[in-house]
């Protein structure tokens, strides 16, 4: 007898009790999920989820374009794009709309109190307005199952093509060395003037081509311990965020909260649940007031000691955190049912043991107050460049047709994307993006509904689209 048959026969001699327990006749109970521990709140989630089905496919609106950018004509070689059905007028105070879709065609807007900039002052966190979900736009288009990847180009930009935030990578003040977060920070976050120094950058990543810029260094309001700083370079009125590049976790969770003003700068307004089996269950949002309450609960565990960073796979509420004050987007703040909190908001993993009771109280509160939300993704436009138009300010407007993503190409829309920002226009300046290329553009989520103009593009890169592993070539 073959060895495999021997093994199959041996398995056949399993105990009767095991065989009966595994019988297909015995319908297995549903896998135990985290909220079996909070059964009362599970029903709430189910109810909210059901309600959410009618709400979430819609999109919230705030800002649009005044139509200054050049208009793009539909690609005449393709089936003319059409204007999607508009379910609601969606007028906001300024009469414009937010229009967010991701590459899968899912709406991206979070209408439940995720402020773009968390109030940096000492005042209370702005409570969610509980705004109506009526002013929404619905994208009814059917998207293809397309995989989008950015093309790996490995570009080293010349010094002239770098933005100021990209040019200077570090500075030293006193005994502290700070590394760039490669982004601006709003003046509202700027605290006391700490001193002056020189920021350092290197042309072409070459240590022999050092560039220096005299700059003033400022505190970030509410953040102590010299952990963060902003600089203002002489001749530039903008502020750029830096963080001290040291692994120096506070001894207790309470110290961490106070030092970083985590309860102010780390809004816990979006999370998903990971159940006991490691499965992600839904995405939920919370109001800012809920975030305040959660931080009050967490502050009860102020004495929680620092714990070595460790990887977990247990049940948890995984908050997705974005903080302009820290220069982070979509980082993690996890509250594990086994009593640990852990975050990578400061690049290094910081973990504290707050105890099972406190952790469960936080998770239970979050689950109880949760609203359903779509998975949060960076607003993205993917499509084919159909035209590159010079703009009046010396920049460019790029026309991008997203028909290639549509099940029905006639559903495609031609968007006008303002590319005058230096970090965008450099792609055109060096002919790295041309007509016919497929591109992926991230933007602030705002599209003018009438002209399909995007003013808030933040990044652009050539993209590769694949369907079932085959590269999709635009026709």
């Amino acid at each position: 007898m073959k060895r495999i048959d021997r093994l199959l026969d041996a398995i056949g001699m399993a105990d009767d009790a095991y065989i009966d327990a595994a019988s297909p006749q015995n319908k297995p109970a549903a896998p135990r999920r985290i909220w079996t521990r909070w059964a009362a709140t599970a029903a709430c989630i189910m109810l909210i989820s059901a309600l959410g089905l009618t709400v979430l496919p819609r999109l919230a609106g705030v800002v649009g374009s005044d139509g200054a950018a050049a208009e793009c004509a539909p690609n005449e070689e393709q089936t003319p794009a059409r204007v999607p059905e508009v379910e609601d007028s969606g007028d906001t105070d300024d009469g414009r709309h937010r229009f967010q879709i991701d590459t899968d065609g899912n709406p991206l807007a979070d209408q439940y109190g995720n402020a773009d900039i968390y109030p940096p002052d000492d005042g209370p966190i702005t409570p969610d307005s509980g705004e109506s979900v009526d002013n929404l736009w619905q994208d009814t288009r059917e998207y293809r199952d397309v995989d989008v990847q950015t093309a790996e180009l490995g570009i080293v930009w010349s010094w002239e093509d770098l933005t100021p935030a990209e040019r200077y990578t570090s500075f030293t003040l006193g005994t502290g060395t700070y590394c760039t977060r490669a982004r601006e920070i709003d003046a509202a976050y700027i605290g006391a003037h700490r001193g002056n120094t020189f920021a350092v950058g290197y042309e072409n990543h070459d240590a022999s081509q050092e560039r220096l810029a005299e700059c003033a260094v400022y505190d970030i309001r509410g953040i102590g311990g010299d952990r963060f700083a902003a600089i203002r370079i002489v001749g530039d009125d903008r502020y750029y965020l830096f963080m001290r590049d040291e692994y120096d976790p506070p001894a207790t969770f309470g110290e961490a909260i106070a030092l970083y003003s985590m309860d102010t700068y780390l809004p816990l307004t979006r999370f998903y649940i990971v159940d006991d089996d490691g499965e992600e269950v839904g995405t939920h949002s919370l109001k800012n007031a809920d975030s305040t309450a959660l931080w009050e609960l967490l502050s009860d565990a102020a004495d929680a000691p620092f714990a070595e960073h460790r990887f977990h796979d247990g049940a948890a509420a995984m908050f997705t955190v974005t903080s302009p004050a820290y220069g982070i987007e979509n980082r993690s703040f996890a509250v594990y049912a086994d009593g640990y909190v852990q975050t990578n908001a400061f690049d290094y993993g910081y973990a504290y043991f707050i105890g099972e009771e406190a952790a469960c109280a936080v998770i239970e509160y979050a689950v109880t107050r949760a609203r359903p939300a779509k998975e949060e993704r960076v607003p993205t436009l993917v499509g084919t460049v159909t035209d590159i138009l010079p703009a009046s300010d010396g920049g460019y407007t790029v026309c991008v047709d997203d028909s290639i993503l549509m099940q029905d190409p006639s559903d495609g829309i031609v968007f006008s994307v303002d590319m005058s920002a230096p970090k965008l226009s450099r792609w055109l300046k060096h002919n790295l993006i041309s007509v016919g290329d497929t591109v992926i553009i991230t933007y602030d989520g705002v599209v003018d509904e009438e002209t399909y103009t995007i003013d808030g593009a933040q990044t652009v890169e050539p993209a590769i689209l694949t369907v079932d592993g085959d590269i999709l070539i635009p026709e």
Partner: protein, 186 residues
């Protein structure tokens, strides 16, 4: 009808013993047989043979679990049938997949034969099963005792197919380690 009553019918040599068995466990037996043979006709024959085997075995055998008793008979009959077909190069593709999954768990035939007999192997299997978490054990047996497809398991256990595969891969690795520890080293 309760299992003990059905067993009593066999012991009484009652005409309706098989009918009652088929009524309660016919679908169950057919599922196992079909999972293994992937052939309706073969499955029916295996199930009918199972009833005959049960009739011949009771009495004197009085099974503690009638379902496991019947399931084991139909499983063995179905495996025997597939093996015969494999000998004729007509193995069911479905079974081949399962056989391949388990292949690495055991060393070469010659080594195995030197180390332990079937009862020792069965004892190892039962200890291995006892060591598994309940859900993993049930899924393992659904896969390798009942020969359910990954798709069925994913649906029944509300898990993704990839998760089922991952669980089974880890269970097989665990079984392999257990076998090696007991002297079944490749």
């Amino acid at each position: 009808m309760e299992d003990h009553a059905i067993i009593d019918l066999y012991f009484a040599r009652a005409d309706n013993a098989i009918a009652e068995t088929a009524d309660k466990y016919g679908r169950y037996c057919h599922t196992i047989a079909y999972n293994i043979t992937q052939d309706t006709l073969d499955s029916e024959e295996c199930v009918n043979d199972t009833y005959l085997r049960a009739w011949n075995a009771m009495p004197p055998t009085r099974p503690n679990s009638l379902s496991a008793f019947l399931g084991r008979i139909v499983r063995n009959l179905s495996l025997d049938r597939v093996r015969r077909k494999q000998a004729e190069k007509r193995a069911a593709e479905h079974m081949e997949g399962i056989r391949e999954e388990l292949w690495d768990c055991l060393p070469a035939e010659s080594d195995t034969a030197k180390v332990a007999d079937d009862l020792v192997l069965a004892d190892i299997i039962n200890r291995f099963l006892a060591s598994l978490p309940e859900v993993t054990r049930n899924i393992f047996l659904r896969r390798y005792w009942y020969f359910s497809s990954v798709k069925e398991l994913a649906a029944d256990y509300h898990m993704s197919e990839s998760k089922i595969k991952m669980m089974m891969m880890r269970a097989r690795e665990s079984l392999r380690a257990e076998l090696e520890k007991e002297g079944f080293t490749p």
